[in-house]
Amino acid sequence: MSERRPYMRAQPRDWWAHKPYLGYTLRELTGAGVALYGGILLAGLISLARGPEAFEGFRSFLTSPISLLIHLLLLAVMIWHVVTWFQTMPKTMPKLIVGGRHVPQQNLMVAGVALAALCSVALIVLVLAVGAWS
């Protein structure tokens, strides 16, 4: 029998719902939002494969207030994912050195979010242009 009796710090089962872990939990939960959006697209693809009638059903769901509410909520979750994704990214990569100086993590985060904003705006502008041109 071992004499070793290490101190085991008690951890409540709901540790993830309280500070300082709450920020971590909220960041990880954005993954569920991303997957849910993938699920909505998959539902659309299923109805597309089943024919025009099924697809009309999917379209009428998309114009319902509950769908609009879900998408606005998903948009908020997705924006939080963008911010936290680029907050985490500098911590997971080697230190970036430009001109003999470390680039601060804050700068990398701002650059990443700016790039994401540029990509999203560019995609919407592209679709608007195609819509106006056709």
Partner: protein
């Protein structure tokens, strides 16, 4: 295999899919939600017919359209699966094999479903 060969882990594969899905959703996710959830259904800024069956079918029949649909749907699922798996593991929500099936397993299944649907829709 030599007896001392290190045990290979599958986790880098999942990590890669998580990273690809995370980057794709970070760069284009907000625009995709605005496009497919608000602009196309309500005809805001785009002609209303862009969201109809004929246009959606043409998009899904186009090889590039298929690639976009597969990448977005599958990688978003794999991204979510990795995050949900690690969080549930940290929450000690259940036995690891069960959690793996409920996250990676579901993502793998839905990836196959997406692939089958894209083939069924045809070119």
């Amino acid at each position: 295999m030599t007896p001392h060969a290190p045990k290979r882990s599958m986790s880098p594969v999942f990590w890669l899919m998580f990273g690809a899905g995370g980057m794709l959703s970070a760069l284009f996710g907000p625009a995709l939600i605005v496009l497919t959830g608000i602009m196309l259904p309500f005809g805001l800024g785009v002609p209303g017919r862009f969201g109809d069956y004929a246009h959606a079918l043409r998009f899904a029949q186009n090889p590039l359209g298929k690639l976009i649909l597969l990448a977005v749907i599958a990688l978003f699922f794999w991204h979510g699966a990795e995050r949900i798996f690690l969080t549930l593991k940290d929450m000690r929500a259940g036995a690891l094999p069960v959690l793996r099936v409920a996250t990676y397993g579901v993502a793998a299944l839905l990836t196959l479903v997406t692939l089958a649907l894209l083939l069924e829709i045809g070119f």
